[in-house]
Amino acid sequence: MKRIPLVALLLCLFFVACEREERRFREMPAAAGRRNTERLTSLVPGPYTADIKVDNPYGYNAYAISEGKRLFTWYNCQGCHGNGGGGMGPPLMDARWRYGADPEQIFATIVEGRPNGMPSFRGKIPEYQVWQLVAYVQSLSGNVPKDAAGGRQDNMQVRKQEQALPDLEPEREAAPQQ
């Protein structure tokens, strides 16, 4: 019985140290996005190798995901995508992805833009904030660990909070023809 407080204290220390809670204010993630952004052509000189998969540096960080949620409003993403349900732009909380659900593909979508209206934010959003946005977009279809996804809304609740959204298996959807 005497050991319970000690164990509890150690557990607390364990959780304090966990990546989920870390607030990395000054991090500049490696330029992972640059090398692996999608190419406009599939022709590549030299030997063929599969692209190296990039992990979102913020994929399991509650603070970064909540920052992504704030930036989603501040950079007016919700102006077209609504609160994830879509509007002028496609919904982000369903399973269908026109340009890929991998972190580097979402990164490329934000930085390079896409046909039919997605603007290019190249040079307009610092890279680490793009990764935070990527983490938030992933959380909208349950593709980040549940315990790191957002659990509250500041505005009127129009959908379930990200924690409660179903974990959807990404499906490919053809981009609309102009």
Binding site: R23, R26, W74, G123, K124, P126
Partner: protein, 317 residues
Amino acid sequence: MTTAGRGIQSALEPAGMQAEKIADLWQFFLVVCTVVYVLVIIFLLAALFRRRPEIVPKAVSPRVRKAVIAATGLTVITLFALLTASIFTSRGIADVPDRAIQIAVMGRQWWWQVEYDDRDKSKRVTTANEITIPVGVPVTLHLRSSDVIHSFWVPNLHGKRDLIPGKNATTLTIRADRPGVYRGQCAEFCGYQHANMALWVTALPMAEYAKWLEDARKPSKIPSTAEERKGQDVFMNSPCPLCHTIQGTPANGKTGPDLTHFASRRSIAAGSYPNNRGYLGGWILDAQHLKPGAYMPSIMLEQGELQPLIAYLESLR
């Protein structure tokens, strides 16, 4: 207390009618409470030193009864005196004329947005972390918050007033009676950089205030040198305009401080650092070092872009 009473951020050096009444009330409370405290201690010591043999009295003697009644009566009278003084101070503070200048103040993590309203939209002025007011004229501040509860406190001018998010504006009417610069701070814990959420109130004679307002209404200065022109291009092509507005240019972001007359301000990052070339460069490149957690991101610039950008920002008088 004597050292705390010096300077630009002190409730004991009132510069306005309300702060003066609050300071008077505080002095009154201090005197009364000191007298009471000294009396209590004297009687306590007397009781200790004039100890009597321990006999339990059968009945309270008339002398003791009288003393207790007198002490109770005196306590009640003293408390009522304090209450009355407090009520009269509150009423005196609230007693300001209707025709006042209206300024909207929005508390944001972690800075203050200041808007001078006008029926004519082209005459509205938006600035940040600095409020300029005329001397001797009541100014009504409409206090709102965009995120969490903040509290507006400029000790030289008035008491505290909370800014509540999702609620109609709370109001605070201040009147500065002598010209000067007074510092204020957020007085309600509001997050990581609460301690660095300061603001300045500048009280100017009416004529100077009118001149200031006229200047503030103008759009930003057009860059005049090649370097400033390059700096403006850097500004427009970097993340800056997504959050900041510069009147007279395409930059119209609404989430960061308005920079139209940025160079005329005393400080950057809500009173955290002086507004000079060195700190400004550091703030642009690595805001997260100077104010960790603030919503100003650290900006990556190409070589040769920083100096023109600073030159442009410093030209925005």
